[in-house]
Symmetry: C2
Subunit: 230 residues, 2 copies
């Protein structure tokens, strides 16, 4: 199981609807939530550094301020990661960004208002990861949180949970496995018999879907092999 | 004459040899030197905002910390420029970056250690300028200051002075005009007769060079015209 730490770089997360929503969504067993402040003494910095090493995936989560992190969070980053490229502590870990911003996501492209893609604007973070030998994950971005409908918010919660805990892969199987694991987890905690039956029914349904997909894949492979003999 | 403000984003410029050198080099009539701190009350922020508007060229000068500005400087930027895209105060002004870093400048390219060019890593600042309607100047970068020879340092001082005060143009004439103006300025202040004669001699020499170049250019134009009739 992937152990993840979310480092929140919002100056006052309690005042942000988006941050509160994400905090709620991140209440998962293997996820730790950490609010970055810039007032730390030497001992605290040391402790944070040692703590970070325990995780497989490190996430920086922040609202975009001038195409980068808020200043106080940059101070935190500068302090905690100072000289850390030398001691190789973070090498091989995964590193992700959860960024929210107020403009439309389609504005981040050549020819549009923001001119550059989010990937281009996040080169400094990609370089940060490269320098520390970390694996840079695709960016998780949230555009105009306040305009989201309730079904879009539900979708966001699941996508966000996957970003924090799912194996880094964009294939359908990894999503399926992730959802099955989550449902099994709910099933264990569920006391209501009716709801439990529903959970099990969904899990079974996913499993039988998977079987069907597998046999279709096998048939496809077989057809391809057959046709290559012609 | 271009009025320039250099905003220094080094956390302790007095401890930096590079920053001290730049400060010495920036002692020019039309250049103001300003050290950014992140402890400002509302009135101070207002005053800084009003002051900035008086300049034609705004320069951010900083050591590169994790491919961006030091955290305390980002806090200053966040505070001073908050909401300033709305009031259009900086539209049409020039915006430049003076960045020093410890790695080799040739490392900033595809296939090398740093993978991305400095231009790519500075997209967030280019976007900052775009957002405020400012003209983004080419980046002035200083690599490995401590390894510079004394003649490289002299060269750096002149290039830096040009970056702060010269018309934004890469042509030879603008450099020539800039040097003539600087020499004339020295000549006015010079009391030693011998040195004064040297200054005047250099100024005359540059002027006669310019005449020669002009007549060569005329001849070239004439030759091109002639050959186009053939």
């Amino acid at each position: 199981m992937i152990k993840t730490i979310v480092i929140v770089g919002h100056p006052s997360p309690a005042d942000s609807g988006c941050q509160q929503f994400l905090r709620e969504s991140a209440q998962l067993e293997q996820v730790e939530y950490y609010i970055a402040t810039n007032q730390m003494d030497y001992q605290q910095v040391k402790r944070v550094q040692e703590h970070l090493v325990e995780f497989d995936r490190i996430i920086f989560q922040f609202p975009m301020y001038w195409y980068s992190v808020p200043g106080h969070f940059k101070m935190w980053i500068d302090t905690v990661f100072e000289n850390s490229e030398r001691n190789n502590l973070f090498s091989g870990k995964e590193f992700g960004l959860v960024i929210n911003y107020g403009v439309k996501s389609s504005d981040f492209q050549a020819g549009r208002k923001e001119r550059y893609t989010l990937s281009e604007l996040c080169r400094p973070f990609e370089s940060f990861a490269n320098k520390l030998g970390m694996i840079f994950l695709p960016i998780f971005s949230i555009s105009q949180f306040y305009y989201l409908t309730s079904s879009e918010m539900k979708r966001l919660a699941v996508d966000y949970q996957q970003y924090l805990t799912k194996k880094n892969s964009n294939d359908f199987l990894s999503k399926e496995v992730w959802i099955q694991q989550r449902l099994n987890l709910f099933a264990v905690q569920e006391k209501d018999d009716k709801r439990l039956r529903i959970f099990k029914h969904i899990v079974d349904h996913i499993a039988s879907n998977r079987d069907q997909l597998s046999s279709l894949e096998e048939s496809l492979t077989w057809i391809k092999e057959e046709s290559s003999y012609e």
